[in-house]
Subunit: 347 residues, 2 copies
Amino acid sequence: MTTRVITLKELAASLDLSITTVSRALAGHEQIALKTRERVAQAARQAGYVPNTAARTLVSGRSGFVGLVLPIRGPNLVDSFLGEFVTGLGEGLVSHGADLILATAALGHSELSVLRHVVESGRADGVVVTRIAETDERLAYLRERGFPFVAHGRLLDSDFGYNWLDTDGAHAFGEAFDMLYDLGHRHFGLVTISEAMTFRHLRQDGLAAAIARRGDPSVRLDVVTAPRFDQEARIEAVNRMLRGPDRPTAIVALFDELALTVMEEAARAGLGVPRDLSVIGFDNIAASAYAPPGLTTFDASIRHCAREIADMLLTVIAEKPGKPLTRLIRPTLVARASHGPAPRTRS
Amino acid sequence: MTTRVITLKELAASLDLSITTVSRALAGHEQIALKTRERVAQAARQAGYVPNTAARTLVSGRSGFVGLVLPIRGPNLVDSFLGEFVTGLGEGLVSHGADLILATAALGHSELSVLRHVVESGRADGVVVTRIAETDERLAYLRERGFPFVAHGRLLDSDFGYNWLDTDGAHAFGEAFDMLYDLGHRHFGLVTISEAMTFRHLRQDGLAAAIARRGDPSVRLDVVTAPRFDQEARIEAVNRMLRGPDRPTAIVALFDELALTVMEEAARAGLGVPRDLSVIGFDNIAASAYAPPGLTTFDASIRHCAREIADMLLTVIAEKPGKPLTRLIRPTLVARASHGPAPRTRS
DNA sequence: ATTGAAATTTAAAACGTTTGCATTTTTGCA
DNA sequence: TGCAAAAATGCAAACGTTTTAAATTTCAAT
């Protein structure tokens, strides 16, 4: 039991070569005779030699790891985001021989403190930052530190450049508006959240911009806001919009969970979707395909974005490019059955 | 920019103490004068000292990491399992100061080879293994190596002990049968998969055992099998059961995705759920709450299990217990609207 | 003041690699 | 055969910790 792991020293001894030569041979240095390189490679393979990560990291200053601080999550939060995201990151990293470190913030510790620890303990060569808040101390810290990172999402405005990849929510919400407008809708509702995340502004602004672009003064937009994680308040907010004397004919929700609530509450209020009300969401979570009549939404392909982020980060680590890398991914419309022509008569 | 990280040497110099003393002071050794310990702690905090992981790992032989090899996933697989699992692991690990390493298998590399690399490179002090297959080379490898691990799931039979935590699918499927039997059902269907995973046997055996326990010869069980990831074959298999001349009145699916397919195909065949057909799933995925009429299923609380697994693994690493640690978690029934009394007349 | 024990601190080795520089071996050519 | 240049290999330091064993300081009791 408890098989020992072979070290470079032992491997070198068994080949009657110096540690140096074996190390260089395995690294494929040209200066080592080809014949030797092959001999070493063969022996290493046969002995099952795997270099010790800690030793290598210590001397080279590169850990081969990329860090991700797990967002703190409520106890009952269930979604596929994290799974898809780490899967995508893993796929992007593995082709370059890198791996992922997931650090969790303990109760009472901020996400920032965990990030600092990851950075300053030398565990990772770079980090990925998600869920960008309106004023995000993590970006400021990483920037000041000069530590390689890529953000998934953007700040609204910043006085410094940084690497980011974002889903073009603004474009999607504009596209949603245009589609609904062409279906005859003129009275719109937006269900959004109060959490101080930047994506809510980007999406709302995209919707507003599309409305302005159209230049039709008869277009009207109502907005209701709910706390992100309070299901009851969410339902109440939705009903404020649905049960009012003059409700919109089309509701765009900031993301699918909200859209599903809208559909449920619409059903409860006796409204047919899409006959009386069109609903459009964002994210294309699995449930949106099952919730009747099938939610029309946008797919942001998290997994693909994450893979891209991994590529970007590895580039940043390896090449330290002078200009920030940025990438805006356009989500694709998933047209299901929750949108349709505006009802003829206004209630 | 690019702030340097302070080392123990520098910290020691600034305190006019030796590296040894500072190291011990930070570790809280009693042998260092309390006054000194406090002085050091204060200086370390103020200087933002964080020990270098690689150096510490190299000398101590402990990395403070736990490894998880990401299951290889099809391109369109979307579920919440992975996200919940790593969240739970993270929660369990962080209280002991450990973190998680996620290693991905590159295309063409087996999960086993990645596991070997994680183990033999000294990146992790222990690993978690999920999705146990009928004959699982990973367990054999870890066992032979004497490397600490905890399996999420079990082998059907093994000639050696190992640490595992499993969801008691057998019990759940028995419970499902009993409930349906009491509702008058006598003709049952089981929709399962052909993949060589142990959980399918455990659940099916649990169902069979419950039937045997009841001892009613009029009970009948039909079984159909589909490949796990082939949606078309899955639909075909389900229809084989639904459209036959003599269909079951209650169908138990190995997991929710299959149950949702059953409900969709039932609707397409003009069958009412639960009027004509009762359906029960397993896993309680998010979509099961939205798919009409609401799927009755079992919740395995992945996140909680994962936290428990993390605890177990840390115990194994720290204490090397003589007897294997094992834990069977009973899933809870989530009664929604997809089950009901058996229809009066048999078709 | 002296002494021995207890309390506190330190020097130095070790962990397993990479790498700058030095050394040895081989090769081509006279 | 001898010699310089090129090719191949090796020595030793370094990375930042922890830890063993030893050294120093402090202190109470004489």
